[in-house]
Symmetry: D3
Subunit: 316 residues, 6 copies
């Protein structure tokens, strides 16, 4: 009866300070309680300890010539079903505990896809905000100078995540290709121009809208002409917004970490996409093109706006 | 003026919970304050972040066929001066923070030897106490199944440390040799029968006594016929005891984690060495051979005994 | 005229004692006599000498802690058409001569599939009978500690064979994956749960029945309702039995190395499969579930039973 | 405005003597002038410098035992879109400049296929004419003794070209396979018997005729019954001739470096293919089989013959 | 009789434009004429063709963020006697022909040392003049991103040469160490602080003075109190100047590519060394410290000055 | 008591036909009987099974262009004390059994040297007699095309043996160097001109004479002026003969497999060495230079000649 709790206790003693990881593991164990008797504890013990973690220093020069040293991480959680697979995140709050939690979830998520893939997660506490393109390039190259020896098409296949988009994957892949002298599918999320696949960034947002559409159908409702608010304006939010339009509904509000834009007649998603992805500006810029839209300078106010459907697509 | 403190603050924010590591780093920084102006902060930043850390799961079977999963570690701290070099420790209290602190110290210690060596430390939270020889062999082989890809004669050269003696180095080297199909100096501390060097285990204890002898000389005193108590009965303590005798003094008390043996006429160190190293028994066993000795069942009582010189040689 | 005989004589002088190999080679040469003039002897000479053979010691511990040392083999016969491919056999009668004969046959068989595959065979004189699961696991891991450097997805792709089923392939693949840090298709025959393909073990038996059905059709006969005896109760025999039922016939007798079970009303193949594959028991166990069946304690008596069709599916 | 010219000038200063390369680069730059403003000069600069060139000595023995030392080359021009890919040419006029020009063109050509392939070219100044089969085999093996470390299925995938046909690819692949102990798709152009693909050698000639057919259609003309002269008698020329016949036209003249065969009734292409590919003889041999044909001993006279369509398919 | 000339002709036809290489080879062949009969032409042919040349693109960013693409070279001339060994030169006039000539000479020079070393030479047309420290660091790292796969302690051991001093070797070695994760003797000329050997940069200049001293002795002369002029102010010149002083003579004039400093009382070599090596300034700076010295702004005027001994130590 | 016999029985059952190996093992076991109780059977079992054996095909072309396929062997017997080390033998009687016996002896012999070396042996059934220099070169290169992946300076270090002298080691090392692109001490026995050590071939013969001298001294005898006959004329025999002269004695007879030369005044060993090593002729040639010598055409007749000391130095 206490088999799973015992395993949890052992992990907890070893990693007292890793709150995110312990919380994730606890919730998994709680959900498994109903089938505790069927669980092979020899196997379950292995699922609780990441197979391999690499933590490495990433020295880089800013444009003024000052040295910085960040920490890079790769948590290779489990490869029972296939090569490690999971995103790279560049964000100042990245920590070992958070990455371990995400890598554990990735193992479980990937196992549900039916593909032969294990789980991993990685990244750095490097903050890409307010960095020049050359600084980001130099950081990515220095990061890959170490990571390249731990990944490969049958070993570990990183993808992008927060702070790591097409551009960063391009810099990472370029250095990987140069150092290994091979052109392989070791990194996913590449730009179309260097061999990436079509449509991937929008996939999560699109999936969300398909799910919404199916839910409405289930209740004999249609999505047509519904007004939708979508928090966020990243890949997920803009993908959701694009599909919302394609399905005949309209997006009336979106947000970023500075504020909210709102137009009850519907926002122009193509323009907004250019603002965010091509020009890399803040959402407020939208008012330069569509002065009739309203701007609220508290992102949380999006939830006070009127709508038929509200979708949370911002980063936690 | 605050250059070093700023660097410390950055490290602290990133590793809030790593007490041992922060404490070690702080004491280094404090001792450098007097020469703060001469320190190149670009170089010092790199010294504060280990170049690479590998954490890995070590699954093994006990003699009853139960699965256990421990964590293995290798902190490769700095290679500016040569390949990484430092001990492996098997002890239940091994943690990432403690190993980072020890690895940082190792980098500084090795740089003082004048040899071309960097600094490292590693090990596992595996507890070798009460394990059979076969269990220890299986653990060592499983540990090396991962470690082998991170070490090598020009990359990283582990040695023994607490819980890792000649026997364990032998199991580790055997598996390393089998997996890499090479016979190299990648592990130090091997038994004489498989190519180890003479005298190494006693070196620390011998060095301590040479130091004591020099201190006494400095005060115009001689070590001859002095009565010495030495806490502990491991490599360091027994090395110190052996050299004490060779220098003409006598050891009147030694201890292990259970108790103390005491004989004002002097202990027989050869017999005691056999008890500890060959038979792997507790120190109390000494009374079976020398009934005239006294046994105290609190190790700390050693400090109440009368002597000329008292040497602390037990593990902290 | 004597070109092929000359080549055979050279091989024979070099391997006087390898009876199985010489016999296999002789029968191939005899069948080629009719086209001797068309044979390029420069190429044929190469077919008679395996490209590479690796023989290695496999030390392992039994559950009592005793050391055993078996011999492992891999005969990489010919790679003219693709990477080496062929099974691993764990059986006390495994010898270099027998494996060379099987590897030569494998090269010829694989060339007929039209796939890009060369031929190989391997295994050990290790006897898996009466070994515990942990002993088998330890042997497989030790076996792979050497084999891993000689195989790979474009080099040599072992499969199972006698004594090497899903379980053993799982242990072998697990160690291969751990040592190489890659997840590849280097071993075939994996369990479904770790990425194996569906149906493979039954394939040989199914093929046999399709062949029988075609033969009967050729003589204007039908397999429906025919009574069939099948010697053996391994993968081939039980595959054949399963397909026999599916085609509308009934299996009246099967055997293992201890004896025969017989039921003129037809055996229950699902139950028998569970006895053999899941519970790993002897065929006699069948009577516990179906007391009406008869048991004969000489395996050869199966050939005295009455039937319409008799199929030999036991190991030679 | 002068961006591209500036880049050209830099390249020219560095490689004054490489006429073929400078001429090819100049013609590319000229054709890009119309869009000069849209060109990213940071990217274009990289296109003008081959990523890697390897030049190596190839020592070999002729049948009399004399040593010869040729130079081997591999120009790995650009891998932005995929692994390097391009032919190997054995011809006494092979030079670094010519190979650089061809490799640059290959990068552009491969980018138009839509496949994920970079560009390369290589070969040697070895002259395969008048060499015995064993001399060619020894040269190919020696050539591969160095090249093998620079190629691979995800690194660089050579193919045949002038002087390197099925036979030479077979020798090269055999040595590559032996040295790397892998069977991979690292060389294309293999014979069918060792895993090559069907039809490849004729592809260029076939494509030419499809192109001719489309041009005629565009002018409302038909190729049927047209008389065609085709200069050359290599892979391209004979492929073109074969397809000419299949489309209902007839080939009235072909040539090699010695002379021309001419028959206004149409040449027998099957016979001619055997003469060139199987027997490796001169085109004049055709008259032994078809005495009614005419032979002209100046290859250039082919352009004086009467025809409806003239196709230049000889090597420049 | 014409054996060597024939070999030269073959090389000349293949490399018509490589003037430096042909000139060097010609002078070697001329000096061998007297022993032509004893030369094994099979071996000599191999000496005339470098075993391997690698030419590679080196993209790097200047401090303004502009991309530049230089060419890197490594000529691995001959390894008959040991691993390739020879310097790296960064200079705008570096060309394939010049490096081939230097590499050939290196093979011959190294063979005379009695050490087990082959010959090589390499570098780039990168001009280190007027580059910032960070630009030089980035160039060195990019250069090594390719070179690292072609060198190693038993393969090829580069050293510094013109434009590649302690600082550049440090950047190159740092990147090599990071990419290969090994600390080996693959590059020579490292700074003392990262494991270099003592005294090396002065060695050539010291050797020159020992030679001068021996010549004078041979004529019963002494070097004491002689006045010496030394053209140049690099490693060789300053080494010569230092030893001149140590032997009791005085240096009255030295030069750089801008001009000459002259002081008949003798120059202060310690000060001059600091100006050139620590501050990296022009020689004219010397007058700021010693106003009594004279400055001539044509470097060639050094040869018009009065002296006992004149030594040419500037780069050609 | 029967521990060792039991181990022998197991080995015998597995290798019934390997007479040489079983005989060697038996004699070792017999000599160990006196200390049977002290032997760790777990360790001894491992000594009886070679750690790894590689058998491979060696295809090569003779000067007429005919294909031959020999078998190559490398028995890597034991590496407990260091990398495998032992000779390569090219002789038609080479067999797996004989090489296993020699490799086992090599392990024991090397362990007595006090050096850190394991034991190995290898070679081929190729017969170097009557082969041209080019045939031997081609065979050696083909042999190394496979062997190179199994040896290395810390893995296995082959040396010469019967049929493998300086010349063959040169061909083998040349191909090893070319394929691995490293210059290392992987093969011993190289010619002085490519880095070999001085004196090695004579060492065995010299050692024999030192031993003889000591034996004589032990009996108060001197070797001066003694007449010595030495069977054989290979490295051992001629080394013994050279040292015989140096110690003041004279060699009166030597032999090869054709016959004996005899001169009671003493043979000229310098001349004889040139005949055998430089001109590679039969011993009978000696009479062309010294007609006063006698020739006996039965090698065994050497034992009938008169002498003070008789030394058997021919191959068994």
């Amino acid at each position: 009866m206490n088999k799973l709790n015992d395993i949890f206790d052992t992990v907890q003693q070893r990693n007292t300070h890793e709150k995110e990881y312990l919380q994730t593991l606890k919730s998994i164990i709680d959900s498994l309680k109903v089938m505790e008797d069927d669980i092979n504890d020899s196997v379950f013990k292995r699922l609780c300890v990441p197979e391999r973690i690499i933590i490495f220093s990433v020295p880089w020069l800013d444009d003024k010539g000052n040295t910085h040293v960040n920490q890079g991480y790769r948590v290779q959680h489990n490869s029972a079903l296939g090569p490690y697979k999971g995103g790279l995140r560049f964000h100042p709050k990245v920590s070992l505990s958070a990455l371990k939690a995400l890598a554990l979830e990735q193992t479980l998520k990937n196992s549900l896809t039916g593909l032969s893939l294990g789980g991993a997660k990685g990244g750095s506490d490097f903050d890409p905000k307010n960095k020049s393109q050359n600084e980001i390039m130099r950081f990515c190259q220095s990061f890959m100078n170490e990571l390249y020896r731990h990944i490969g098409p049958t070993t570990d296949i990183p993808a992008g995540d927060m702070g790591v988009g097409n551009r960063e994957i391009g810099y990472l892949f370029g250095q990987y290709k140069r150092l290994t002298n091979t052109f392989t599918g070791t990194l996913t999320g590449k730009d179309l121009s260097i061999g990436g696949s079509i449509l991937r960034p929008e996939a999560t947002g699109f999936g969300l809208l398909y799910f919404v559409e199916e839910m409405l159908k289930h209740h004999n409702l249609s999505i047509t002409d519904k007004s939708v608010i979508i928090s966020g304006s990243g890949n997920v939010a803009l993908g959701a917004a694009t599909k919302t339009n394609q399905l005949g509904a309209k997006v009336v509000a979106m947000s970023d970490s500075d504020g909210v834009i709102y137009d009850p007649q519907g926002l122009d998603i193509v323009t907004l996409s250019q603002i965010k992805f091509k020009n890399r500006l803040r959402i407020k810029e939208y008012l330069m093109h569509f002065p009739q839209a309203t701007y609220l300078d508290n992102p949380k106010d999006i939830w006070n706006l009127k709508c038929d459907i509200a979708l949370a697509c911002a980063t936690e």
